[in-house]
């Protein structure tokens, strides 16, 4: 949070606070153009919605229902994750996808809006797999209750999932219901030092398909180390780690304190000279190309791999943006800028140029209008090529 405060954007002072759900509905009905925001932890996602009034849900905060025996909770969208995580922990439960930016004040609504998962996504799935229900103020000012409050429900369209990653463009989340799991009694992290990126990708694939049921599998190319996390009864974790080492036939270092997990949890730039943090959905073959790109731009670009290769976290300076855009276009990939910590800013958060057909765009636009018939919320994020410097 302190970082964001160092670099307020032009509209930063102009965040209004919603006093209630009815207030939100009334504003929409009055024709106000709004962008819902939480605690500004992923500022670039909300920026660039120039003509829209940022409306904070911080006062719509609090856990409404928490029934540990049901594995579910319902909380208002402005509830800080820290409050939820603490309440769950007191009952030995947790959100297995490792929500990020907890200490920075991220809210439940902003977490769903940005659709960001931490390393724990590997084992049981991400936000999309744990969201059960959502109350939403739609663009016609109505409050809708989508999904359900029980762990299993197949009735009607799955609107709660649609809201994951919607970046405040489809409606204002006011209340959310999630599935939770019992927290593992013990966790154990380790690292496998690899020879090169090919070797690392092979290790990742081996770990992910293996019998050990790893909670998380990440990779730090600077340390050329694949990190993993085991969870469960302590004795079992120790035995599994030993077996894993034997199976791989190479050294496995146990790492009780691993900075990597907390760096991902805080989405910090990996180098002080970088100003941007972005996420890039990927696979192992893209990771190999990314490695080359990072190598070619060593001072300006760094990356980490999470979720067994399905996600790369990027940290880079503004100077490398044009080349990186070209890289993304070449590989038909897209990345989203999540944080900017000073320095030059991107002009919009979606990077790359994945080819989206006009027919696809028209379907997505039709869904947007179904959620937001009066266009009370900003348009869907789109690829706008950032001009080379």
């Amino acid at each position: 949070m302190s970082n964001d405060q160092k670099f307020p954007s032009a509209d930063a002072g102009d965040v209004q606070v919603a006093s209630s759900v009815t207030d939100l509905q009334q504003r929409v009905r009055d024709g106000q153009k709004l962008l819902p925001v939480g605690r500004q932890t992923k500022a670039p996602l909300a920026a660039f919605a120039v003509d829209y009034q940022a409306i904070s849900l911080n006062t719509l905060s609090g856990i409404q229902e928490y029934e540990p025996s049901e594995y579910t909770f319902t909380a208002l969208a402005g509830t800080p994750l820290s409050e939820i995580v603490a309440a769950l922990a007191s009952q030995r439960q947790y959100l297995p996808f490792d929500p990020v930016l907890i200490d920075q004040g991220a809210t439940l609504g902003g977490t769903v809006g940005s659709g960001i998962n931490g390393p724990g996504r590997q084992r049981y799935g991400g936000l999309r797999d744990f969201i059960l229900g959502a109350e939403i103020v739609t663009g016609d000012g109505h409050l809708v209750s989508t999904g359900g409050k029980v762990v299993k429900n197949a009735a009607g369209f799955d609107v709660p999932k649609l809201m994951v990653g919607s970046c405040g463009r489809l409606g204002i989340l006011t209340s959310l219901t999630f599935k939770v799991f019992p927290a593992p009694p013990f966790q154990l992290s380790g690292g496998v030092v690899c020879q090169n990126v090919q070797d690392a990708c092979q290790v990742i694939a081996q770990l992910a398909a293996g019998r050990w049921e790893l909670d998380a599998i990440d990779f730090d190319p600077q340390a050329m180390t694949v990190y993993f996390r085991l969870a469960g009864p302590e004795a079992a974790c120790l035995q599994l780690a030993a077996n894993l080492q034997q199976h791989l036939g190479r050294e496995v270092v146990m790492l009780p304190e691993l900075d990597h997990w907390s760096q991902i949890a805080q989405l910090r730039c990996f180098s002080s000279s970088h100003s941007l943090v972005a996420r890039l959905p990927a696979d192992l073959s893209l990771i190999k190309h990314l490695h080359q790109f990072a190598h070619q731009h060593a001072d300006e670009f760094a990356y980490r791999v999470s979720v067994a290769g399905a996600l790369a976290w990027l940290s880079f300076s503004h100077g490398v943006l044009a080349e990186f855009q070209a890289f993304l276009s070449q590989h038909q990939a897209a990345a989203l800028v999540i944080r900017q910590e000073g320095g030059d800013r991107v002009t919009q958060p979606l990077l790359g140029a994945r080819q989206v057909s006009t027919s696809q765009q028209s379907v997505q636009q039709a869904i947007k209008l179904a959620m937001d018939p009066t266009q009370a919320f900003p348009p869907l994020l789109d690829f706008v090529p950032v001009a080379a410097q």
Binding site: G125, R128, K152, N153, L240, V307, L369
Partner: protein
């Protein structure tokens, strides 16, 4: 519509792809909800995506309704045809297009049968987790449309939790690609919205699935109780202990009786209820967890506990459970199955209320359920040859659904709304929410030609005929959970 208008569709497609002879039409009249029947104008059996696309575009241009169909095992009338439209049968699109063991992803055509995905993944030590008990026969396209579940939903989620990308042709003839090859994505989760849309948005042509490493071992326990409440309390005790079982199932006496008669599964004698708990994972974890489970069960009012010592004993325990529905045929000529969900802590109360509903209606109800996630499967037994029994059974089913809504649950956990439960949608969702769902449907299908008459109330109800087993259940090919 005059017959000649379908000629232009016939001409559009290679010979024999469009069929409208009586024998073919009769074969497609109903799905797993045999109570409902409707004869379509024709059936298209495409062999390529291109042929599906051409057919859907023709439907769009001519405003002709179409119903996508996989194996027709829907239990809610989801794949039942419409009388003025056609059926697009996707069984011939049954290729696994690619399987990437390193990224644990498979891309499949919609007609691929659920179990075939796991079979193809097995050499790599992987499997496809969602396991509806129709998995030997139901298709991935049907699973996606219904967001199907299985016995292992609590831990691994439903179909949509395992779908990372979908290529589809919408009802307006537009080709869309949602999601991609990675479990992570950017932007609204369009793929998640498409899953569970019950064929109302369009037809899925290529589906990208997430594969998981196969669990190394199972630990399956069968526990007998003298009362249903005790079995329910045991479920709570397991949950409170912090264990996360792969499956937790309960059957009550009437269902046990049927299962015993059908499969001689050897469930504890005189049990009012049995509980099946299954843990799975690497052997080191299981060793610790099975001890924990043992002590939890010891603290309940169990009168008999059987632990499966090997795969054969595990199969026997599951055979009893999986046969429960088809075995109901031994207790009664006809039955209806519901799949409402209630909060887990209210399971006992729900079952008592179902008992009251059952007594009042004079019809027996056998209960089988996914106890871990509160998903009830009450089997309402009746005899269609007795005048009025079908109507009473339907009224009874309706009361059970209302009970689920009243308890804060859902009208369907995994079988979908289809034709059967569409009238209950406005009871579960308020008007603004129903309006939103109508708008979403409109976004994909302004003409309402994709699977009309499903999910939303207000359309003419098709003819009711006798209920009973799915033909494939009668033949012993599949069973239900």
């Amino acid at each position: 519509m005059s017959q000649s208008r379908f000629e232009s569709l016939r001409d559009l497609l290679p010979a024999d792809l469009f069929q409208d002879d009586d024998a073919t039409l009769a074969a497609f009249e109903s799905d797993g909800l045999t109570a409902f029947r409707c004869r379509p104008q024709g059936v298209v059996l495409p062999r390529t995506n291109e042929e599906v696309i051409r057919t859907v575009q023709w439907c769009h241009e001519n405003s002709v309704p179409f119903v996508a169909r996989g194996s027709g095992t829907s239990l809610s009338g989801g794949s039942m045809p419409v009388s003025d439209g056609i059926v697009i049968s996707l069984n011939r699109l049954q290729k696994i297009l690619s399987l990437d063991p390193d990224n644990r992803i498979a891309v499949v055509q919609p007609g691929v049968v659920n179990l075939q995905v796991s079979a193809a993944a097995a050499p790599h030590g992987l499997y496809y987790a969602p396991d509806p008990s129709s998995q030997k026969i139901c298709t991935i396209g049907g699973n996606v449309a219904f967001n199907s579940g299985g016995a292992h939903c609590l831990k691994y989620g439903m179909t949509s939790n395992h779908v990372v990308g979908i290529q589809a042709i919408t009802a307006t003839g537009k080709l869309v690609e949602f999601g991609g090859q990675s479990v992570e994505s950017i932007g609204p989760d369009w793929t998640g919205l498409f899953c569970g849309s019950e064929g109302l948005f369009g037809i899925a042509l290529e589906i990208t699935l997430r594969l998981l490493p196969k669990p190394e071992q199972f630990h399956t326990v069968l526990v007998g109780y003298h009362s249903l409440r005790d079995a329910g309390d045991a479920v709570s005790a397991v949950i409170e202990s912090g264990l996360l079982p792969g499956a937790m199932e309960i059957m009550e006496s009437l269902a046990i009786e049927a299962a015993e008669a059908a499969t001689a599964c050897g469930y504890p004698k005189d049990a009012e209820a049995v509980l099946i708990v299954e843990l799975e994972g690497p052997r080191e974890k299981l060793a610790a967890e099975q001890a924990q489970l043992e002590s939890v069960i010891a603290g309940t009012n169990a009168f008999e506990t059987v632990v499966a010592e090997n795969a054969e004993q595990r199969d026997k325990i599951w055979a009893g459970r999986k046969s429960a529905f088809s075995a109901a045929g031994l207790l009664s000529p006809d039955f209806l199955v519901q799949d409402g969900v209630v909060p887990r802590k209210r399971l006992g109360e729900a079952l008592e209320r179902i008992q009251v509903i059952s007594s009042a209606s004079g019809l027996r109800v056998a209960n089988v359920f996914h106890a871990g996630d509160g998903n009830l499967h009450p089997l309402i037994l009746f005899d269609d040859s007795v005048p009025g029994e079908l109507e009473r059974a339907e009224a009874c089913a309706g009361e059970i659904l209302r009970l689920c809504i009243e308890m804060g649950g859902s009208i369907t956990g995994e079988h979908g709304v289809g034709v059967e439960k569409r009238d209950f949608m406005p009871e579960m969702y308020d008007q603004p929410t129903m309006d939103l769902m109508h708008r979403l449907r409109h976004a994909f299908d302004p003409q309402q030609i994709a699977n009309p008459g499903k999910m939303f109330p207000g359309t003419e109800a098709p003819a009711l005929t006798a209920h009973g087993l799915h033909p494939l259940e009668k033949a012993g090919v599949i069973s239900r959970e």
